[in-house]
Subunit: 332 residues, 2 copies
């Protein structure tokens, strides 16, 4: 007799068109019933046009015709993406100050977690200044149906959703008022089919206004990574972010100091071009570990510009990966 | 016979308490009437508590007792600061991207114009991440009355208003929704007594959302300076700001590229640590002059951290000063 497990195993290799993850990983398999050689499979229809549903139906009917199966019947059930999303932990990357490298840290955190074998997504909540797609070299338009849309997979399999993917031209300005921006972020949470993820990394916009507020109030953020730089000015603004996180009772899991130094190989020196490192101090103030001192690295800047952040591989990143894997252990 | 001019000359040396500018520069002298040795002076009362009014009254009565004056009478007329503000040009410093050095450029622009002999103020419209006061080393709480408040003067006489000056502690977070932030900016315009200024430089927050929108819609911005950096990622986001300015029919007067290079004296080299300079290209795209290529300068970073941006004095800044004085000529 064919078992549910056998059918599920088959479904694990059926990829959802345009996102390179299986029906199981997308959490769309709702029910498998087996009776007298008759297999009934119910799938969530979220984000799928009738065409896609038809294609999947045929594909599954073929793939699951196991030896002792007479008929395979695939049906669909309605529901919004949020009904199918199962996200282990939402980690928000935050900084009161802009341009400190928040998106870079969000990207590197996602890449690090993904390299450790986790299923990872990035929700780019910086609606008016989104930079995640550029770093990953993604410019595919997300697909979907009236019921929701799919994220776009990066080359290494990180799932990405960003306002930039939805704009006509990359340089179009999103001139929106706060409430609309809040709505966009809520939609990125409820109407994007993330499926099953271990970690969803959220790249917050700078500041302590609408967008970070909305994320912290509406998304079940379980941990915050704070990004700072050595500049005194930055640490002042970053402290605001720390206070905001505290006021909203969201746990900070660590601090990353970016632009800590520049290594100049000609003179074999680390130059503290933005001032003396304050990462350790910031972390101690917030009572959390310092996850990394990231340097100004022209090679990394180049990779980000070329959309190849996933190819970055240095000792510094390995160190970040280690401390991040320690830090996420405090999460539920 | 005493003349209006003589009285006015006297009033030019009467400073408004706590802002180091005269009654004339603050545009508070509303009327001077002279009849039969009797001098009647009417002043705007905006921002002045009864104490201050009393003090001014006495001070003026003494100072203007010229030879052929019998009595001096000082009275006050109501009115909001906006009724007394007379601002030549509002220049907004903008960038879609955070952390590119917008506040630095706003500060240097103000300092440059001030060195050329203009009366200059800075309105820090970055409500949630204000950094202007820190750069100028200002931490005085602004004073005022129910009718409005006064900006705080920097050591070289630039008038500054920023949310950070109004907060209890510098690191308090302003957790406000868009509409409230818009309101704060409007108040900085209408309820702060700027008096007579040649230029009010507005440091916009990053992004293309509420705060820049509100400024561009409610303040009579006559020119915009766009700030960029060599990173490809930045130029993409900065183009959004350019498009936003165009959509709102606000003229861009120039582009400043910040963090263009780092000069390492040990090897006498300019390192393009954030990638190849794109300033010229950005400026050409926007059809405006490139006002400066500012380097990453540890000395400048230090001055900013120490609140001494006004002491910066290099060839690079002199070049910026020149091109800025050319660029502002297009303003009305």
């Amino acid at each position: 007799m064919v078992t549910q497990e056998q059918v599920k195993e088959k479904l694990e290799s059926v990829l959802v068109p345009s996102v390179m993850r299986s029906l199981v990983k997308m959490n769309l398999v709702r029910e498998i019933n087996i009776e007298d050689g008759k297999v009934d499979i119910t799938l969530g229809s979220a984000t799928m046009t009738p065409d896609v549903q038809e294609w999947l139906k045929k594909k599954i009917e073929e793939d699951t015709k196991l030896d002792d199966v007479d008929t395979v019947n695939v049906s669909f059930t309605d529901g919004l993406p949020k009904d199918f999303n199962e996200i282990g932990n939402v980690i928000a990357v935050m900084s009161g100050k802009g341009g400190v490298g928040k998106s870079l840290v969000a990207s590197l955190a996602a890449v690090s977690l993904q390299r450790q074998g986790y299923e990872v997504g990035i929700l780019d909540a910086d609606i008016t200044g989104p930079s995640i797609p550029r770093m990953f070299g993604i410019n595919t338009r997300p697909v979907g149906s009236e019921s929701g849309i799919l994220p776009v997979s990066s080359r290494s399999g990180v799932e990405v959703m960003s306002m930039n993917l939805l704009l006509g031209a990359e340089s179009d300005a999103v001139i929106w008022r706060g409430p609309l921006i809040g709505k966009a972020i809520t939609q990125f949470w409820e109407e994007v089919l993330w499926g099953k993820l271990d970690y969803l990394v959220v790249d917050l916009p700078p500041g302590t206004a609408d967008a970070p507020l909305t994320v912290l109030q509406t998304l079940p953020v379980s941990g915050i990574i704070i990004v700072s730089t050595p500049q005194d000015l930055t640490s002042m603004v970053v402290k605001k972010a720390v206070n905001m996180a505290r006021q909203m009772s969201k746990p900070i899991i660590g601090v990353v100091e970016n632009m800590s130094y520049l290594y100049v190989s000609e003179i074999d020196k680390k130059l503290e071009i933005f001032g003396k490192s304050r990462g350790q101090e910031m972390a101690a103030d917030a009572g959390v570990p310092l996850l990394a001192n990231l340097p100004v690295d022209p090679e990394l800047a180049k990779l980000c510009d070329e959309g190849k952040v996933e190819l970055y591989n240095t000792d510094v990143l390995a160190g970040f990966e280690d401390s991040l894997s320690q830090a996420v252990k405090v999460l539920p």
